[in-house]
Assembly symmetry: D2
Homo-oligomer: 356 residues x 4
């Protein structure tokens, strides 16, 4: 159906587990959760009868959207929500059904779905980062006392311990791990503003509906909509690119150590060459650098996408969609690449017989 | 199998026709053409017997690579060619079979495949650009004499003719159309250098093999390999982003004209809003801006990817793969979006009764 | 002497107050503070006699570096510190003078100077941000009850209050203001690692020297050097570009409101046209957009600059120097531009007679 | 007066000779040439008397603008031309003086000045590129037959001749040298369109005035204005970043060769370390990488700046001014850095006694 891929070697830049969070079906599942939670909120505010709410929620749960029709409509509408809602409204009946999506707008659905996907991505990244940090700790424990030639500005500087270089890899990752927890919490926020962001249609009940809705989705209601203020998305983009930057630096180092040879490092595995069987290319190290530079490129697009026109810019919003999911994938791919790479190190530096 | 997509609304950024040029099967088909042409070149140089060459070419034609195995190996090797060749070698028998890939390297296959895909993309873009230019000409013919308010620096300036604004859209596209023809010709070049770019394994026969190989693939042999000199790829990236820039400018204008309203433009179609049925969002116009800013972002990655280390950098090369195919898709998507958008214009400016 | 400017209309992108923080003389003053504080640290660790320390500190205070010689040497050394130190050493005499710069390296001086400059820039930005926030509050107080047409996706949506749009400008700025305080605190850290980052030359006294040094400079010692881990610089770059993004969004809105005309906004001031005296161009609004897009471009360079090679990369480090100071200037310029622009608004929206 | 610099180590990123082309006084000199040539064009079209034209041209030649007043006004007007013209008009008297700037607009002056500056920058770059190419040829002649270890994907591949690696540096530069000649010719075009780009004020005389004006400035009149079609600027930006990319690749290689040591390269010179006197840092090589990555960052801003709104976007235009001059400086700086670096190579590879 769709396209938009990076093409023929996309396994190098993508990550299946993250990609699953950004499929059309994941999006529609998020939409359904939102519309169900909104009905609960409207019921809380006595705008929908409690018994009607139960029935409507069941109907939403049973609804199966037609993804091909939505994909087509997305090209016309610039967002999948209108056609999703058209289909949903056609499949929901009975009292209260006219209040489906009441007070909300497309952006409420899509931004909240993005927030949910980012939250889930954060869980995956956390786990992978924990694993990588553990591997680096094990490496430092095993080889930290080995002697290594420090290199500054592309020149041998002074000898130091392998643990010194490894610590320069560990410290930023540990800081980023702690930041990820805060970032997930800080960006666990509902988008809810209605057509022009002011929740006017809900009148005095707006905050009650919003808070109920947020609670049901395990999000926070920040007290206002943020349709054209993209701070949470920028925070994620910055974090992702900083993390791939830290991993790219490890990759750069390991590639250079592979070039310097046995005195610096011994790997098992490594990539085959089609023409030179003697080579063991430090492919994973190169991949870390490529992914870091990819995210360092894409982060610029996210910053450009801050400039919404008025209450909502389709242009700025689409630029986010084209950019942020691939940044998530690149980051997750980089984490698993780095774990594999660190795991493939047989020895770093030279054993000196000293105790560390 | 793979990931690397832009996720849930990828139909907004991608293009099926272009995506088909960058699938794994398109890549392997290109590899097969290269290896067949190389056998012809080796035969021309009397390194393979003519009758063996015919048989080997048939065997290559009959070879069916296992894409899942290659995808797995790509993660290890950083490039699909080694495992493709391992499989190919296992399926080709008889005298001369040891000369499969003789003198070549992975990069020769992959870069040549990229050149072939770009050439085909160029054909698609040419056709779409022709169509768009024709639609703009028809628009100018129909509405060019209408009166329009020129706007400079976000302020009404002076009245002028609709044809004046349309001309500012047409001229860059016409120049880019002419450039596309030159670009296709200029970048129709074979990559062929062998492991370290010097074709040493072919000795005195190198030029003969290279020229035969190039001719068979309908490419030119530039007289040397260009493994670490990415001019042709940069030329494509620059062209693509300049073209989406020109289209994005049209989108920006049409979005602003839609905002200014009936005095400037009347559309049919336009996107639905989930909450405001009275709106006709200029979605295609916004999409053009988003695609322009996406390519303007990605072009930076392509320029970063110029900095190869020594004779071949996996890191720089992967960054190209992550970037250039999506730039092609974005460009093609922008062209068809623009054609649809221009086609949906019912009237531009105000009819004055004057002859233009 | 030097160049590196943005050229002929640099007043549009720069800021004198910030530029003064990044002059060569500001840099050398920071170097001098560092070397004095280091002597205090060495004295604390009994590596320098207390009386010698007093004399050395006085000599450093009296030292006048030759900036032209340092500028020349910077081209050779890639960093101003070595020649600064050569000159300093030549001008300092007496016992302990051989311990000038003991345990430190060029990067300790330069990174600490950058941290100091960023801290001072933060003070300027805080003040300007406070001023802008106050102006927006005054605007909301005066005109917030006026009626305004909300615009989504370049189409009139529904009417709302002027305060709704103004709130969408205020909220991100208030969040960024709070973040700036945290950022200044979080990045108030000493760089100190010596040649290869391990402070080996100071042995057991390293932490004592580092802590004394940090305290004297009113910085924190994070417990380790961070030569190749650029988190603090990335945090600044991200903040700066997020802030100009928030301001650029205001500029974009005000430019569009100027285009829509009297129903949306009335300004006093505005730019002259060389050819159309009737125009009042919303120049400050455009400038905000330009500065936002400039920083959104440059932030990518900062992310690319994360990838240090081994213990220190001159290439990555120089890329930071070429990028971060101009981001600071652009941000400060944007803040004062925004303050002027908001101050020039005579009326926003339409007075309705309603109380807000 | 102004700011906008890259700050304290700007000598690393700037180039005095190029910077001189982008000073305010260079800009005003270009404005004066334009206004003089315009008077000639108007005289040719009989709109100004020939004798008046001579006098007016003399008066323009004698005019001394007040740069501080123009700098101030630029902040208000967003462009220096209106205040320059206000001053000029105040200083020019007599018949025809009311026709100063007749038919033209600010953008005609500024874009033409940019074109002139780029043309002059092109001359400087040509000369430096010629010099660098000559140095590389001399290096190849002296050391080309030496043996060198080819390196692919950060692993030793096969031995080859030093001339092979040098050729990979030479070929792109030679192609870029030829392209620079074409680029200078292709972009030697007048900007002339008047307030809204249609030269309406000049009626039937527009082409005659434009052609006379162009000829007098040694430019071509492309037959139309190009206020919002930035092709020529994009062409320059792409060229500059491609050139620094080619130089950055040389820098990357020489840095890696310096890391690999004596087997690959011997330099004289090299940067001092403040803490490790034994080191000879390959500073110029690092600088080439930094400048390449700076331009690869900035080129994105130029592509973003393609998206003008309607007939003229101050926002997009300012983004160009903030970006393109520093790209020129970075490129020129990179060329002279590369020349110095190549000149400092004492030996590349290992002498084998073979004749090449």
């Amino acid at each position: 159906m769709a396209a938009g891929a990076q093409g023929w070697m996309e396994e190098l830049f993508g990550d299946r587990e993250i990609a699953d969070l950004f499929t059309a079906s994941a999006l529609f599942a998020s939409f359904a959760r939102f519309e169900q939670a909104l009905i609960k909120g409207l019921a809380q505010a006595k705008l929908v009868e409690a018994t009607d709410a139960v029935r409507l929620i069941d109907q939403i749960a049973a609804f199966n959207p037609d993804p091909a029709a939505i994909a087509d409509a997305t090209l016309r509408d610039g967002v999948p929500a209108p056609d999703y809602l058209r289909q949903l409204r056609a499949s929901v009946v009975g009292p209260g059904s006219e209040l489906i999506h009441h007070g909300a707008t497309s952006q409420d659905l899509v931004d909240t779905a993005m927030i949910e996907a980012l939250g889930k991505a954060g869980l995956i990244l956390s786990k992978r980062l924990d694993d990588l940090i553990a591997r680096l700790a094990a490496l430092a424990a095993r080889d930290g006392g080995n002697r290594l030639q420090a290199v500054t500005r592309m020149q041998e500087a002074l000898p130091f311990a392998a643990s010194d270089r490894i610590a320069a890899w560990q410290t930023p990752l540990e800081e980023l791990r702690a930041r990820l927890t805060r970032l997930k919490e800080q960006t666990r926020i509902l988008q809810f503003g209605g057509p022009v962001g002011d929740l006017r249609a809900l009148g005095d009940q707006a905050a009650l509906v919003a808070e109920t809705l947020a609670r049901d989705l395990d999000l926070r209601w920040p007290g206002h909509s943020w349709h054209a203020a993209r701070g949470p998305m920028i925070a994620w983009a910055g974090f992702l690119s900083e993390l791939t930057g830290a991993l790219g630096k490890i990759g750069q180092d390991l590639g250079l150590m592979a070039l310097r040879g046995e005195q610096d490092i011994a790997f098992s595995g490594g990539g085959a060459s089609s023409a030179m069987p003697h080579k063991q290319n430090p492919v994973a190290a190169e991949r870390l650098v490529a992914l870091a530079r990819l995210n360092a490129t894409l982060v610029s697009g996210m910053h450009q996408a801050q400039i919404h026109e008025m209450e909502r810019s389709g242009a700025a919003w689409m630029l986010e969609w084209a950019t942020l999911p691939q940044m998530c994938e690149a980051t997750s791919a980089a984490l698993s690449t780095a774990a594999g790479l660190v795991g493939s190190i047989d020895r770093i530096g030279q054993f000196t017989g000293d105790q560390q």
